[in-house]
Each structure stands twice: as C-alpha cells, then as structure tokens.
Symmetry: C2
Subunit: 256 residues, 2 copies
C-alpha cells in the first residue's frame, strides 16, 4: 500500500470561502488534507507577514471538511509558516492555495496573497500550486475548476517541481465544456491603471478608494492573458529568485 | 540649464523614520524631491495593497524636508500608486525607497515593503531603487550610507535601468572607511527558520509571536549575502516578471 500524500491547503479569501471548500474536496480524493487558512479575507495582502502583532490559531470543524482544519488570524504567508513549524506532524508533500475568487494572472501575481502562500511553501522546499478562478464573486461557480485542479495536482505529485519553482494556475470563468485545455505560459506584461475615487467622510475629511482598470500591454500568444482570453487554463511556472541574471553583466560596467 | 529630476521618495518604516530622512537629504542634493510615505511602520507588508479599506492622505511639513511631503494611511505600494495617479504633477524621473531599518537582502526581498514600493514604481516604468541598512534599530547610524546612495542614484539617472528591472541595494552596518565598495550580485538562496513563541494571554487563550533565524544556504561568492558579510554594499537587479522561463519547455512535456 502506498502512503497517501500529506497536502496542506490554504488561501487568502479565508477559511469559509467557497473556493477553498472546492479545493479541499478535490484534494481529499488525492491525499490526507490539513487546512491552515486565514480567519478572514486577506486579498491584496501580497507576501505580508505578521511581525509586530500576535497570531491566534483555532482548530475548527467543517462538514465534509479536511482531517484537521485551523483558522488563523494572520496572513496567507503566516498560515504556511505556522503550518510547517507548529501545526503539522511532518513536512507536507504538497501545498495548494486557493481556489482564489478572482484572477492572479500576469502582474496580479505580485499582489496575490494566494500566490504568496504558495511561494512561502516553495521557499521551504515544498511543491506548491496557487489556483485562481477568474470570478471574484463569493457565489462563483467552481465546478469547472475541479478536473483541471485534479489533473495539475496529480502531475505535480508524480513529476515533482524543479527546485525554486511554484505554479500559478488561472482558470477562465466559462462552462467546463468550453475550456480547451491547459496551456503552459509566461506571465503577460500588464499593469493596473488606478483610479482613485476621492470622497469626503462625514467628519469632512478627504479619503480615497483604490480602484482601477487592468491593462494588458502584451501582444504575445504565449502569455497567460492570451491563454485565458482564448479559453485555456493558464499555468505559469513562477520563481522566487527575483534576480534579473541577464542584467548583472551590464551593471558591472557602471561607474560604482 | 538642465531641468532637475523629479524624485519620489517613499519607505515602509513610516514618514518619521530616520532612514527616510537621510534618504530625503541625499536626494535633495540631486533633484526636486516629493515624499509620499506611510504614516506608520509597515515592515513585512510585502506587496500588500489596500482594497477593502479607505486611504487617508495628509500633506505634512518637516524641517529640512522635501518640496512636498504626504503622509498616507496605506501600504508602501499604495503610497506609490497614490503619488503617481493623484499627488504628483508629472511622472517622476526616479523613485527611491528606504533607507530601510534592516536588511532586505536575499529572500527578504519577498517580504519587503521597501522593495514592493520600488517594484510598484518599476511596474509603472519609473526607474526605482530600494535602499536598506543592515541595522533594524530606530537609532541606526545612516551616515555611512550617504555616499553610496548618492553614487548609485546618480548612475541610475545617468544610465537608466533596463525595462522591468529595479535595484535592491543593501548596505552593511560598519563604519564607512571599512566598506570596500559596491558589488553587483545575485540574490542568495536563503530562508528563515521560524520559531513560533507560544504564549497564553490574560484571558487564557493561546497566541503566537513569529520570530526566527535567518539561514544562508548559498555558498556562492557572487551573492548579496557574501558581499555584505565581506564588507561590500550589495546591488541586485530585481525583476517583477516572475516567470521561470527556463522551466516552460519541461512543463510542456507534462500530461496535461
């Protein structure tokens, strides 16, 4: 009998989110599942960690839930650190994060709490995947995600991942039968053009809401944005060595 | 007469921090300086942005300060977004972030609010540099930093930076005369081995403090950690395209 893999599940939308509930259900068909996830939504938290404040953890129970589930007051990265160092009996064989309510494609990877959790696991040498559905609504339908999540997870468990690499998977918000397959891509060059909505509070003080428009500046057909627009699930291998190795030689010619 | 460059200054330790005050003083010898920085310390915020909450901005005055200074309730990345979209009359020629109280070398780049501000400017096509001193204390002595900050900044203004690249500069906490020079490096492979300090609050509830030991796993002499340990200022070119391009071919062979 082969030992079942131990799978750590986390996210950034909080332990109650429908997305993580779908992810837990899929992972239970593959291995032994332990959940350590934020007790409240943490979207846009990037790779924040809790340095100057205390962390609370509660063991919780969910109907159709995992073997063990912990709700944590910290960020997604905190959850992974706590899981590995304190809560799990052994190093997990895999960490999956999501399924995020909303896209983490292209430049969104930088702002993503979902991906920061996966990266944190990657830094610890654990194969890791972040999953996101291109629908930010709480009531989003995650059904179409299930088979793709399963296929990619099983591939990672079978093949492993190269050292220093985690996967960023985004799934288009269309019916399953319209999804053409999974495409390995690069991160598209894109950014957000913010529009700050300036308002006045009841005390007469100005404040702002951050909002904006997403702009894809990349015409390439090998990008995640292209794949998603054309009905594919996008899979981008992501690294946490941020060094621009190709530029080192040029900078060495500077007058420093 | 050449027009002076417009320089945006920000940080993650907050607008009152001695580190940003040193950075402002150096930048005033180079160009016209506008400051948009957090109103309170934001260390460990990674690339967090404020999505579900309001942002407050106050124009403030400091003795020996910049042309204009704004204190903001948001994260370092929020500050850069607000500066570019709302507060500055034109796109700045440069964005500098820091000088951080504490290291942002090797894997710390991922958790760093200082570097997220620089990356945010880089995403907007603005040449950007994050500066950090290897002393986390509020009373750290930033004097030794000044000439290196100036040299690197002047090089960036003169040479520009390749598209998609920002600089991560770390400065050892030793007297200036002992600093051997500036070394262009790669990010060392390193991580934090966390130790969670578990305590009981006055209400009898368990909580944790996150702390840990930094472990350099990289024996290379071309890394930032090696440079800093050997008395050099480290300069790492950092990219925000996180795609592990070298792995794409291998993943295309998977059974997806």
């Amino acid at each position: 009998m082969t030992k079942k893999p131990l799978i750590l599940v986390t996210n950034d939308d909080g332990i109650n989110a429908p997305g993580i509930r779908t992810l837990i259900a899929v992972m239970k068909t593959i291995g032994d599942v332990v959940v350590v996830a934020p007790d409240s939504p943490q979207s846009g938290m990037g790779h924040a960690i809790t340095l100057d404040s205390t962390l609370y953890v509660e063991q919780v129970n969910y109907k159709h839930g995992a073997l063990k589930e912990y709700s944590c007051s910290g960020t997604p990265a905190d959850c992974v650190k706590l899981a590995i160092r304190e809560l799990l009996d052994r190093k997990p064989d895999l960490c999956v994060s999501g399924i995020n309510h909303g896209s983490n494609s292209s430049i969104n990877v930088i702002y993503s709490g979902t991906m920061s959790a996966a990266l944190e696991a990657g830094i610890e040498g654990i194969p890791a995947i972040g999953f996101s559905l291109l629908n930010y609504k709480w009531q989003a339908n995650f059904e179409a995600c299930e088979s793709f999540v399963k296929t990619i997870t099983e591939n990672v468990l079978k093949q492993g991942l190269p050292n220093g690499i985690v996967l960023n998977v985004n799934i288009p918000d269309i019916p399953k039968k319209e999804i053409k397959g999974i495409k390995v891509c690069r991160q598209a060059k894109a950014n957000w053009v913010e529009e700050f909505d300036k308002r006045v509070n009841p005390q007469g003080k100005d404040y702002y809401w951050l909002s904006g428009k997403f702009v894809n500046l990349d015409g390439g057909k090998d990008t995640d944005e292209w794949a998603l627009e054309n009905g594919y699930v996008s899979l981008v291998p992501v690294q946490f060595d941020l060094t621009a190795h190709g530029v080192i030689k040029e900078l060495k010619n500077w007058d420093l």
